[in-house]
Structure formats: structure tokens, C-alpha cells
């Protein structure tokens, strides 16, 4: 399976891109070229050079080191947020589909509508207003917004599967709704979930950037890609590299994840996989 995945160019490129950032985040726990919490104002606005590989920001901090540490926040936020969304949303969606038309279905789906009715940013502002701004609260806010996305997707896909003959034969074999959902429905909607997962993952990174941008995400001095972008906006005219590098980091991570997601979806489909062999 893993060998087959690396035969796909999309997966390999995506994997390398994503792993670069994960690795950077991990290494940053032990080593960065410069410390990110020490201000060195005389050394500010350096262009990329041999000492500061990607230059320095308005407080003289090394951008390369900031990106490494920022990757931690971005990746952690996205992973946990997608985890919350999938972990709660998929079971809810599957339950709603298994009991279609029942009170349970109504309660789950109307609850989803309620969450969907609020824009993600509004929920985030709501949560941070109550609990105070922090990276953890940003994670929870983005995660809650992900729940209805996965619930709706899995309910819709599961509904059409419930009418298929193979589900009927599973029922004839005496299997209950939980068992059928786990054995027959889930594997067949996995490809959709993976693709949606990578999209939500990239949206999570962007959402964290947006929250940090308006000051509700990771708080200084913890660097985050979103806050680096936010800080750089007033200086973009004379120091564009301040915005360019965190922006590029976001784009490349999202691109890598999407490439991996596409390849994984194909890999999970036995029909397509056979076609490739």
C-alpha cells in the first residue's frame, strides 16, 4: 500500500512538501538558527542574506526561525481541528443516515444547520470573547465549524449507500445499523472524507492564519504564519519579503496536502488502483 502510494508522483510531491513543514516544526523544538523571542531592533528589515537566510522582520527576528516555530502552531491547529470535525461529524452523519427521517436525524441535522448558520469567524470571535484569545481556543472554534461539514458530507453519501443491495444483504445477514455503518458505509465514503479532510486541513491552516491576523489566535510572542502576515501588511510596500515567505509557506503546505489527498483517494479505490497497475 505504502509502496503503491509512492509510485504516484502527486503523492510523492505532496508528501515531500508536507513532510518538510512537519520536520521543520519538529526540529524547531530543539534548534532554530536564531531564537524567536529575542528582539534585535538594530538588525531589522534585513533582506535575505547569508546569516539570516530569509531576512529579518521589523523587530529584527529571523524569519526562517519564525517560520519553523510558526509551523508548529499552524499544523497543530489544523490537525486537531480536522480531528474534532471528523471525530464528531462523521459518526453524527452516519447515525443520521442510519435512522433517516427519525427524530435523531432531525435533531442532528438541525443542530448542524444551527452551527452552519454562524460564520466560522463569528464562532471563533464568540469563543475567544468568552474564553479569551489563545491558540487552544482557535483550535476549538475551527473544530466546531468542521463538524457540520463532515456530518453533512457523510450523511449524504451514506444515504445513497443505504439503498444499495449490498447493504440489504448485510441486513439479511443480521447486521445492525452500527455494524453496517462501520463495515460497509464508512469504507465506501472514506475517499470523500479524505479529500474533504485535506480541504478542511488547508482551510484550518487558513482559518488559523485569519484568526491570528485579527489577533484572536496564537498570542505574541508565539509566532504563527497568520500573525506574521498580519504584522507585515503595513510594511508590505518597502519590505515585501515579510509577507512573501509566510504566504509561500501556507500555499506550499496546502498544495502538498491537497496533492496527497488526491492520491490517497485514488489509492483507496480498488477500481482505480487496478487501472494504475
Amino acid at each position: 500500500m505504502i509502496k503503491a502510494a509512492f509510485k504516484m508522483p502527486g503523492f510523492t510531491i505532496g508528501f515531500i512538501l508536507a513532510m518538510t513543514f512537519v520536520l521543520a516544526a519538529l526540529v524547531s523544538f530543539f534548534w532554530t538558527p536564531f531564537p524567536t523571542d529575542i528582539v534585535d531592533v538594530p538588525n531589522k528589515f534585513q533582506l535575505p542574506n547569508r546569516v539570516n537566510w530569509l531576512g529579518t522582520d521589523h523587530l529584527g527576528r529571523d524569519i526562517f526561525s519564525m517560520l519553523m516555530v510558526g509551523a508548529r502552531t499552524s499544523i497543530a491547529v489544523a490537525v486537531v481541528a480536522v480531528g474534532i470535525g471528523m471525530g464528531l461529524g462523521v459518526p453524527l452523519g452516519l447515525a443520521a443516515a442510519a435512522r433517516k427521517g427519525s427524530l435523531l436525524d432531525e435533531v442532528i441535522m438541525r443542530g448542524n444547520d444551527l452551527v452552519f448558520a454562524f460564520p466560522a469567524l463569528l464562532i471563533a470571535i464568540l469563543i475567544t470573547a468568552v474564553f479569551g484569545p489563545s491558540a487552544v481556543n482557535a483550535i476549538i472554534a475551527i473544530g466546531i465549524f468542521n463538524i457540520p461539514v463532515f456530518a453533512r458530507l457523510s450523511r449524504g453519501a451514506a444515504l445513497s449507500l443505504w439503498t444499495r443491495d449490498f447493504v440489504l444483504s448485510a441486513r439479511v445477514a443480521g447486521k445492525g445499523a452500527v455494524r453496517i455503518s462501520a463495515e460497509h458505509i464508512l469504507p465506501n465514503i472514506l475517499n470523500l472524507l479524505i479529500v474533504q479532510g485535506t480541504i478542511q486541513f488547508s482551510l484550518g491552516i487558513l482559518a488559523e492564519a485569519a484568526l491570528s491576523y485579527i489577533g484572536l489566535g496564537a498570542q505574541p510572542p508565539i509566532p504563527s504564519w497568520g500573525r506574521m502576515l498580519a504584522d507585515s501588511q503595513t510594511m508590505a510596500s518597502f519590505a515585501p519579503h515579510l509577507a512573501l515567505f509566510p504566504g509561500a509557506a501556507i500555499v506550499l503546505t496546502v498544495l502538498g496536502l491537497n496533492l496527497m489527498g488526491d492520491a490517497l483517494r485514488d489509492l483507496f479505490d480498488p477500481k482505480i488502483r487496478r487501472g494504475r497497475e
Partner: protein, 528 residues
């Protein structure tokens, strides 16, 4: 007059050879039938005529239509010929019409595209054509939408679309396969009438020898991209020079040998079964109306017996199956399995459930595409309290696969690696693995080619002899039911209208509906 002459036609798509040296002629006022099993290239032959070929197709040979070689002329000229001189009728009337356009607009469109008339005239032509295909103005105004019509009526609209400009050649690709027998007979009659009236040539493509035998003048039998035998119907059927013709003929009339003796004790007894569906409310606070899909049905299946259930689509066959299997809640009635009663509306206990299994119609939809065959076949083990594990489970799967004529190594393959017939064998293996006493076969052979169908029927007969199985055989196909069942029930609008010994019912039907069904069913014997 020879209207269409195909000479030495070869077709390949990519590296695959589809047609080899196909020659065929069609004359005005005559019906040519092309018969073959799935994958024989019969539809591709039709697509070659009006050049509706998929990308990457390479054709050689000659397709002379009305003095022009269709392979040589430009796409622009082809567009003029398609619809104007060559009409086409497709298999599936449910998808061949645009659901958001009225039937009048769709028929008139063909006329308008070819610039044959003004809009008002086109609508007039559409009206006349719909009248001709048996959709009179009083009941079927031009403003009707496809969803308001039944399958047979839609197929009439599709035919009207094809003949609106009075084409010289009509190609009908399996025009009656998706229809019930009585509707099929009407559509075939209509096509014959149109050929007579307009003097057009009809190229009728079908997999069913019975359908074309009584309709066609000439016949061509195809196998693997080649025409193995052709000529006037009577002559081909009388001589049967090619072994494949003989095999096809034998398979179409195949009656498997059965020796099972029915015992007195019933394995399944159904009494007074009623199943209602709740329909959408007519007014906001009114009581929603009900549709009685199964109305007071009572019958029993004896041990070792094969009971047939015949009826047209919408008669309640499938609803009845689901009720017996305990998949749906019923409103009233009693189901007794092996002498133990299951009260209507309650769950079927596991120990009763394991006595029956089911085989569905669609060999493509009835398996989870993500699982390997070993897991698929072993699924009913869930009903056993002491289901075998590990190697014992694997051995049981392999044994059952061999029993249905598959190989042990098939257990490690995915379902998409098998053909329709093989999948149906695997479906039977899945039903057999926990050694049930009753197998419900819901149109289990309807989607298969005749030769594969004959093999599956033989397999079912052999299994019932050896294992003492009982079958409830549900089908719309009378010849299959006649071949495999001891007794038969005829169902119409949720009710059983006639029950009896199979031969007695077929030879001396009592109910007028049974008579109508048997009269409408295509019969091969008449031709010989």
C-alpha cells in the same frame, strides 16, 4: 431495395478489436435483427452506421447508406443524416428523454433542428407523430412531461422522436429490454406497424431470441465482434449451421433437470400479509394517503420446493421479498418460518433469519466494492453464534466457492474483477455459506446473458437436489420461471391472482391477467 449495406467492417478502440469483418444489409420495409450477448459488438455495429463512435475508434470497411459511404463523409453531412434519414431508439426510456422538457417540445426539436418546418408546423408534426405511436391528444397533450408517463409510454415518445421526420432507417437498440412483457409486446407491434406504413428499414438489436423471432425478416447472430450466421429468420432457425446459433437457441429454452421432492412440511408460510406505504400528504394537515403495496397475501413454500412468483414491475414482488426477509415492518399478517411464527411488525430473530438467504438481481450492486470475496462470502456467518474463525472460516469460504463453480483463489480478489455471471455465482455462494433452508431469488438471473443464465439455472437446480434447498423464485421472465419452479403464483397490484402447479398454470391459465401475460411473452417454438 437495399438501403444499408455494411461490407467488411472492422472496428478497434485503442488496442482492443471490437468488430471483425462484419457484413450486413438492410432493405426498406424489412426488419433486420442483430442478436448477440453482451460484449458481442451489436451496439457498436449500430454506432458505426451513424458514426457515433467513442474517441480513439479506428474503423475500416464500408458502410453504404442510401448510396453514400458513411465512413467517408464529413461530420457536417453526418449531422444532416442523423435524425433525418436515420432514427435511433435507445434501451432505457427513463434516461433517453430530457426530464425538464415537455414531450411535444422534444419531438418538435428533431424537426426544427433539420430545418424541415416552422415552429408551428413542427408542433403539428409532433402532434401527428405522437398520435401515430399511440399517444392520442386527449390523454397525452404536447405539454406533458416525461415523469408523468409510464415506461412504455416514454418508449413510445422516444420512438416518436426517432420517426418524426420519417427516416429511411430506424435503429432500435434493445428497445424493449427495460419493459414488462405486456408492454414489450405492444412496443414490438408498434414498431412493426411503423415499418409497414412508412416502408422504412428497421435494425433491431436485441439479446433475446424470442423477441426478434416473431418480428424480424432477417437475422444476424453475433459473437465476439463477428457475425457467425445470418439470413432469413425461418432459414436460420431451421438450419442452424453454426454451433453458436444452436447453443444460443438451446440456452434460451434451457430447462434444468430437477429431481428434488417437495415435502409436506412448509419451510415458509405467509398468511394475510399487508404492507402499506404512506404517501405524501395532499393537504397540509390532512391524513396522508396510503398505498397498499402488498394486499392480504397468503402462500407457503414447502421444503425442497421451488415456488415461482411472477408479476410485472410495481406489482409488489420486491416489497413482499423485503417483508419476508424482515427488512421492512408490515402492517398485519403472519410469517411462519419452519413452523415458528414471526408476528408482523417485529424483528425476525437470528435463529429464524439464518434459515433464509437472498440473491438480488443486480450482480454489480449487491457487493461492497471495498471488500475481498472471502469477506463478502463470509458475511452471513454473522448470524451464527459459533461462526468459524481463522482457517476454518477460510476453508468454509473456499468450499462454498467450489460448490458454485468458482476457484479457491478467487477468495482473494475484489468483486470488480469478475463478470456478471461470476458475480451471481458469488452471490449464491454468499447465500449458501450458512446452509440456509430457503433462498429467495429476486430476479436473480434477469440481468444475465442467456448462456450464463442457463448455467446459473443448472447450478440452482443441482444445489437444490443436493442440499434439499427450497427456492422462492421471483421474476418477470415467464420462461425462466417455467423452467425452474414446481408451483407458481401470479401477482398483480399487490394481490396473488392465481396459484397452481407451474405446468398447469402455463397450459391452462384461469385468470385473465395470467392469460394476458402468457400471450404477451415471446415464444421461440412458433418459429420452427
Amino acid at each position: 431495395m437495399t438501403l444499408l449495406q455494411i461490407k467488411n467492417l472492422n472496428l478497434s478502440i485503442g488496442d482492443t478489436e471490437i468488430l471483425r469483418d462484419v457484413s450486413l444489409t438492410a432493405e426498406a420495409g424489412k426488419i433486420v435483427a442483430v442478436i448477440g450477448e453482451s460484449g458481442s459488438g451489436k451496439s457498436m455495429t449500430a454506432y458505426c452506421i451513424n458514426q457515433l463512435l467513442p474517441r480513439g475508434a479506428q474503423v475500416s470497411g464500408q458502410v453504404m447508406f442510401n448510396g453514400q459511404d458513411m465512413l467517408q463523409i464529413s461530420e457536417r453531412e453526418l449531422c444532416g443524416i442523423r435524425g433525418q434519414d436515420i432514427g435511433m431508439v435507445f434501451q432505457e426510456p427513463m434516461t433517453a428523454l430530457n426530464p425538464v422538457q415537455t414531450i411535444g417540445a422534444q419531438v418538435a426539436e428533431t424537426v426544427l433542428i433539420h430545418g424541415a418546418a416552422s415552429k408551428a408546423e413542427a408542433l403539428k408534426i409532433a402532434r401527428e407523430t405522437l398520435n401515430r405511436v399511440g399517444l392520442p391528444e386527449a390523454e397525452f397533450p404536447l405539454g406533458r412531461y416525461p415523469h408523468e408517463l409510464s415506461g412504455g409510454q416514454r418508449q413510445r415518445v422516444v420512438i416518436a422522436l426517432a420517426i418524426a421526420l420519417r427516416p429511411k432507417l430506424l435503429i432500435a437498440d434493445e428497445p424493449t429490454t427495460a419493459l414488462d412483457v405486456t408492454t414489450q409486446a405492444q412496443i414490438l407491434e408498434l414498431l412493426q406497424k411503423l415499418v409497414r406504413e412508412d416502408g422504412m428499414a428497421l435494425l433491431l438489436i436485441s439479446h433475446d431470441l424470442g423477441v426478434v423471432a416473431n418480428v424480424a425478416d432477417n437475422i444476424a447472430i453475433m459473437r465476439r465482434g463477428e457475425i457467425v450466421e445470418s439470413g432469413p429468420v425461418k432459414q436460420v432457425f431451421a438450419e442452424m449451421n453454426h454451433e453458436y446459433t444452436r447453443a444460443l437457441f438451446a440456452a434460451s429454452n434451457h430447462v434444468p433437470e430437477r429431481n428434488a421432492e417437495a415435502a409436506e412440511m412448509p419451510i415458509l408460510k405467509v398468511s394475510g400479509l399487508v404492507r402499506d406505504y404512506v404517501l405524501p400528504r395532499k393537504t397540509a394537515f390532512g391524513v396522508p394517503p396510503k398505498l397498499r403495496a402488498v394486499n392480504d397475501v397468503s402462500f407457503e413454500v414447502k421444503r425442497g420446493e421451488s415456488l415461482g412468483l411472477v408479476g410485472e414491475s410495481g406489482c409488489g414482488k420486491s416489497t413482499l421479498t423485503r417483508a419476508i426477509l424482515g427488512l421492512d415492518v408490515v402492517q398485519s399478517g403472519l410469517i411462519e418460518i419452519d413452523g415458528q411464527a414471526v408476528t408482523a411488525g417485529h424483528k425476525v430473530p437470528r435463529e429464524l433469519r439464518r434459515k433464509m438467504q437472498v440473491v438480488f438481481q443486480d450482480p454489480y450492486g449487491s457487493f461492497n466494492p471495498r471488500h475481498k470475496v472471502a469477506k463478502l462470502v463470509a458475511e452471513p456467518f454473522h448470524l451464527l453464534d459459533d461462526a468459524p474463525k481463522g482457517t476454518a472460516r477460510r476453508q468454509a469460504v473456499e468450499k462454498t466457492l467450489i460448490e458454485v463453480g468458482m476457484l479457491t483463489q478467487d477468495a482473494d480478489k475484489y468483486i470488480h474483477e469478475f463478470s456478471g455471471g461470476q458475480r451471481q455465482r458469488i452471490a449464491i455462494a454468499r447465500a449458501l455459506i450458512i446452509k440456509p433452508e430457503l433462498i429467495i431469488l429476486d430476479e436473480a438471473v434477469s440481468a444475465l446473458d442467456v448462456s450464463i443464465r442457463a448455467q446459473i439455472l443448472d447450478l440452482l437446480a443441482e444445489l437444490s437436489d443436493r442440499l434439499g434447498l427450497s427456492y422462492l423464485f421471483i421474476s418477470h421472465d415467464l420462461s425462466v420461471v417455467r423452467a425452474i419452479t414446481d408451483r407458481v403464483m401470479v401477482m398483480k397490484s399487490g394481490k396473488i391472482v392465481e396459484t397452481g402447479e407451474t405446468e398447469a398454470v402455463f397450459n391452462t391459465p384461469k385468470h385473465h391477467y395470467t392469460k394476458a401475460l402468457i400471450d404477451a411473452a415471446p415464444v421461440l417454438e412458433n418459429v420452427r
